[in-house]
């Protein structure tokens, strides 16, 4: 459905998007995940023909975004991050206007607007359609923006940070909505919150510093992402530093941190990837005669990976 090849974007001297390529099947809900400034919005803008790429190509539904932008635009529904709307218009007016812009004839316009409004839960409060846009809360504005995207029943929906600024209840609503939309449309959304993306999307594309650092389903990614594992030990019986030092002697230990946990000392033992040092640590503890009350292993998570990516991006910048 959407094919992106070696897309690059320079803003002057700054490289915003660095040679990204991916392919999105029809019908999937894909999340673009990345820290702020990773290039998500830029990529989306390039996909929706708002901005040209510096090099590379992108096609949506087999139409090239640069040379066949009108066809692309008529198949895409785009909701920008800040949901720009005309504040002086009423909701229904706005939607009718947008429907007309998208080429819907008179007769179809009204029903399309009603349908989209229904879908986006704008029909509920009776006067919602009559309200002026500058009187709406953020949540409702986003629903209006979303309704705008749905008017012409596009094949692709592109949503930039659709849940940003919403309260938890609204976030949940939005998530449900997007999930339901995903049944009929190909949806790309971007976010910097992993939890959300994981919940809504079937696939993830992780972008950092303008580059794709990982893409796939959530479980694939977790498998792909291998970060350092940790062993958490809580013991008693010696001075913390001493205990820490002795544990550090265990082979494969990268680092030991110690903190107090009540009367006990908690040691965080960083191990190499894939290493499982529980047995070794237990053996040492027993050998040393320390008291042991907890011994567990933590493997690197997507969050860590994500945080690390963020960190790396900032250091790179």
């Amino acid at each position: 459905m959407i094919e992106v090849k070696h897309l690059t974007k320079y803003y002057g001297r700054t490289l915003a998007v660095d040679d990204i390529s991916f392919y999105i099947d029809a019908g999937s809900v894909v999340g673009f995940l990345g820290p702020n400034g990773a290039g998500k919005t830029t990529t989306l803008r390039m996909l929706t023909c708002f901005m040209p790429a510096t090099s590379g190509s992108a096609t949506v539904a087999d139409y090239d975004v640069f040379s066949q932008s009108l066809q692309v635009r008529s198949r895409v529904g785009y909701m920008p991050e800040n949901v720009p709307l005309y504040p002086e218009m009423r909701v229904r007016e706005y939607l009718m206007f947008r429907a007309a812009l998208r080429g819907l004839g008179h007769k179809r316009r009204s029903s399309a607007v009603d349908r989209a409004a229904e879908r986006c839960w704008l029909a509920k409060p009776e006067d919602m359609m009559r309200r002026r846009i500058d009187q709406l809360s953020r949540g409702y504005r986003q629903r209006v923006g979303l309704a705008d995207c749905l008017l012409h029943e596009p094949e692709v929906l592109v949503l930039d940070e659709p849940t940003i600024g919403l309260d938890p209840a609204q976030v949940r609503e939005m998530r449900n909505l997007i999930r339901s939309l995903g049944e009929n449309h190909t949806v790309i959304l971007s976010s910097h919150i992993l939890a959300e993306v994981e919940q809504i999307c079937s696939r993830l594309v992780i972008i950092s510093g303008g580059r794709i650092v990982a893409q796939g389903t959530s479980s694939e990614l977790r498998r792909q992402v291998s970060g350092p594992s940790r062993v958490i030990v809580e013991l008693k019986g010696g001075r913390p530093e001493q205990m820490a030092a002795s544990v550090a002697d265990v082979g494969g230990v990268l680092d030991v941190q110690h903190t107090r946990a009540g009367n006990w000392t908690r040691l965080t033992v960083q191990c190499a990837e894939e290493a499982d040092l529980r047995q070794d640590v237990a053996a040492l503890v027993t050998a040393k005669g320390y008291q042991l009350r907890e011994l567990r292993r933590e493997i690197g998570s997507l969050e860590d990976f994500f945080v690390q990516m963020t960190y790396e991006q900032t250091t790179r910048d």
């Binding site: 901005m51 635009r73 895409v76 800040n82 720009p84 005309y86 002086e88 947008r98 812009l101 998208r102």
Partner: protein, 250 residues
């Protein structure tokens, strides 16, 4: 084409739903009223004008039009400055440009919206013309040509103002640019003509918008003026479209 009209209609309603338009319209009509009834006296520019509407004066709106030709060079950019600049500032340009409408349609729609507003303003001056009709016998040919000239002049001014509006997201800057360009091509060139040696004076005068308007204000229909205004309007609309399009390939 339908989309152009839809855009135009939205633009027009945007004008009507904002206080700015009414303020400018009221001030414009006030200015017209003052010139109409009290005349203009600016000593240091050596401008001295009797009121247009007074017993014994010729029954014509011509002096009013002549002053408006200069006055609108300031008023019209103020009206058009928000056309594109506001969209740039608020970000609605994104939804506009990602909708399946051509940039030309966008510009044309905005132009038509502003133009219709301008026509309504001109229609409001009909009050003054009605007074002249009641109290005198104006020359209908002159009046007709005068209004035609105002319409064409307005179209050209709006297209310049629209172009200025595409250049920046700051409305005020767009307004100032528009005023500067128009002021140059009206009053500025007038001064240049005075300063320049005689051989070039004719050519320079041909660039001055007011020269072409003067014919209409006298009641003379000259294709040169018609062509001038139409081509200038078309030109500025064209480059506005190009500026807008440039976002797509810059």
């Amino acid at each position: 084409m339908r989309k152009v009209l839809i855009l135009a209609r939205r633009e027009l309603s945007a004008y009507f739903y904002s206080p700015m338009a009414y303020v400018i319209a009221a001030l414009f009509l006030l200015m017209v009223g003052v010139i109409f009834l009290w005349g203009v006296r600016v000593p240091f520019l050596k401008i001295e004008m009797e009121p247009v509407f007074r017993s014994g004066a010729e029954a014509t709106l011509r002096p009013l039009f002549d002053v408006l030709a200069y006055g609108l060079a300031v008023v019209v950019p103020l009206l058009t400055m928000r056309l594109v600049a506001e969209e740039l500032r608020s970000g609605t340009i994104e939804t506009l440009m990602t909708a399946p409408v051509t940039d030309a349609a966008v510009i044309l729609g905005k132009f038509i919206g502003a133009f219709v507003l301008y026509l309504l303003l001109l229609a409001a001056t009909g009050v003054f013309f009605a007074l002249i009709v009641v109290f005198g016998k104006p020359d209908w040919g002159v009046a007709g040509m005068g209004y035609l000239g105002m319409v064409l002049l307005g179209a050209a001014y709006i297209s310049v103002g629209l172009f200025a509006s595409t250049l920046t997201r700051h409305q005020l800057v767009a307004g100032l640019i528009g005023i500067a360009v128009l002021a140059f091509f009206t009053g500025g060139l007038y001064l240049v003509v005075l300063a320049v040696p005689a051989e070039y004076a004719q050519t320079v005068a041909k660039l001055n918008m007011i020269t072409y308007f003067a014919d209409f204000s006298r009641g003379v229909f000259d294709t040169r003026a018609l062509v001038f205004f139409l081509t200038v309007t078309a030109f500025f609309l064209f480059i506005s479209v190009k500026v807008l399009e440039s976002r797509r390939w810059r």
